[in-house]
C-alpha cells in the first residue's frame, strides 16, 4: 500500500514569517505513472501533492493560531503521510497522518495539542479534504540551533544577519 510523505515548514523570518514546501514534497514538474502511483515506484503522484498541500496549509494555520494565542512561534514543521490503497475494488485516499512540530517560547505540549486541533479546523485544505480521515499528532520541539544562535556569538554576526 503506497504511503506518500510530504513536508512543509513555517519559519519566522521577521515580517510575519513564511512557509516553504520541503524538497521532494513536490517538484516543479511532477511526473507520474501507474508504477509511481500505485506501486510506490520512482516518480511523483497526486497523493504526494495532496500531502504537501495539507502540510503547508496546516503549518501556516498553526503558526497563525500560536500567534493569536500570544506565543511567538519560531518554527512549525509539518509532515503528512498520505495512505493510498485499494478498497472494495477502487483506489482511495483513506487516511492522512499529520505530525506537526512546533517551537515557541513558553509553549507546552498540552497547549500545542489543543491549538493544533483548532488549526485543523481553520485550514482550508483540511476542510476541503472532507472525504479523508485525518489524524493529527503535535510535538513540541526545541528551537533549531541556527535560530537560537548557539554557535554564533553576538560579536560574530554578519552585518546583514
Amino acid at each position: 500500500m503506497p504511503i506518500r510523505t510530504s513536508e512543509a515548514e513555517w519559519v519566522n523570518e521577521g515580517a510575519g514569517g513564511g512557509c516553504r514546501f520541503l524538497p521532494r514534497s513536490a517538484e516543479a514538474d511532477s511526473v507520474f505513472d501507474f508504477r509511481s502511483r500505485m506501486q510506490a515506484g520512482p516518480g511523483s503522484s497526486p497523493e504526494e501533492l495532496i500531502g504537501a498541500a495539507e502540510a503547508g496549509c496546516l503549518s501556516m494555520a498553526l503558526a497563525a493560531r500560536l500567534a493569536a494565542a500570544g506565543f511567538r512561534p519560531e518554527r512549525v514543521k509539518t509532515t503528512a503521510r498520505v495512505h493510498f490503497a485499494p478498497k472494495g475494488g477502487e483506489w482511495r485516499i483513506d487516511r492522512i497522518d499529520v505530525t506537526a512540530q512546533a517551537a515557541a517560547p513558553g509553549l507546552t505540549e498540552a497547549r500545542l495539542a489543543s491549538l493544533a486541533r483548532q488549526a485543523q479546523d481553520d485550514s482550508p485544505v483540511t476542510r476541503a479534504l472532507g472525504g479523508v480521515y485525518i489524524a493529527i499528532d503535535a510535538q513540541l520541539i526545541q528551537r533549531p540551533p541556527d535560530v537560537q544562535g548557539a554557535a554564533v556569538g553576538p560579536g560574530d554576526r554578519h552585518a546583514d544577519a
Binding site: G18, A26, F32, F34, L49, P124, G131
Partner: protein
C-alpha cells in the same frame, strides 16, 4: 478571477490555476503535473490571496486534482475500448471567505482529450464518471467540482 459581494462591497476572490497532462493509455502511459509557480519561494497569507509567483497549497490541490482526473479519464477511456493519446486538464481552485474563515469552495476542471473514434458525448459521459470516481475528487468531499470537456482531434 471572479468577483463576490461581501458586506455590500465587491471583493476579488482568489483563484489559483494548475495543469496536468496524461499521454497514452492507463497502464503504460505517463502523466505530468505542472506546478504553476516557483517551488522555492515561500508562501504566506498574502500570496495565497493573490495570483503570484509563490507556490501555495491551493496550487498543489489543483495540480493533484488535474493529475488524478487525467489519469482516471485515461483509465476509463482505455477500459471502454478507446486508445487515449493525450489528455490535458486545467484546474482552477476558488478560495472564498465564509463566516468560519477561508474555504476552497469550488474547483473548475477543464479537460481536453484526444482518442481515435471518441465522440463528444462519449467523452462527456466518461469525464462525468471520472469526476465522481477519481480518488482525489472523493477526498475533496467538501468542494464543489465543475467540469467542462473538449474533444481534440487525435494525431
Amino acid at each position: 478571477m471572479f468577483k463576490a459581494q461581501q458586506w455590500g462591497r465587491e471583493i476579488a476572490m482568489p483563484t489559483r490555476e494548475a495543469d496536468a497532462e496524461w499521454d497514452g493509455d492507463f497502464q503504460s502511459g505517463r502523466g505530468r503535473m505542472q506546478l504553476p509557480a516557483d517551488f522555492d519561494r515561500a508562501f504566506d497569507g498574502r500570496s495565497r490571496l493573490e495570483s503570484g509567483a509563490s507556490l501555495n497549497p491551493e496550487d498543489l490541490i489543483g495540480a493533484a486534482h488535474a493529475g488524478c482526473f487525467s489519469m482516471g479519464l485515461a483509465d476509463r477511456l482505455t477500459s471502454q475500448g478507446y486508445a487515449p493519446q493525450h489528455i490535458h486538464t486545467h484546474a482552477r481552485v476558488h478560495l472564498g471567505q465564509t463566516d468560519g474563515g477561508w474555504r476552497i469552495e469550488r474547483i473548475d476542471l477543464e479537460t481536453e482529450a484526444a482518442a481515435k473514434g471518441l465522440g463528444a458525448r462519449e467523452l462527456q459521459e466518461a469525464a462525468e464518471s471520472t469526476k465522481a470516481a477519481c480518488p482525489v475528487s472523493k477526498a475533496l468531499a467538501g468542494v464543489d467540482i465543475a467540469l467542462t470537456t473538449r474533444l481534440v482531434e487525435p494525431r
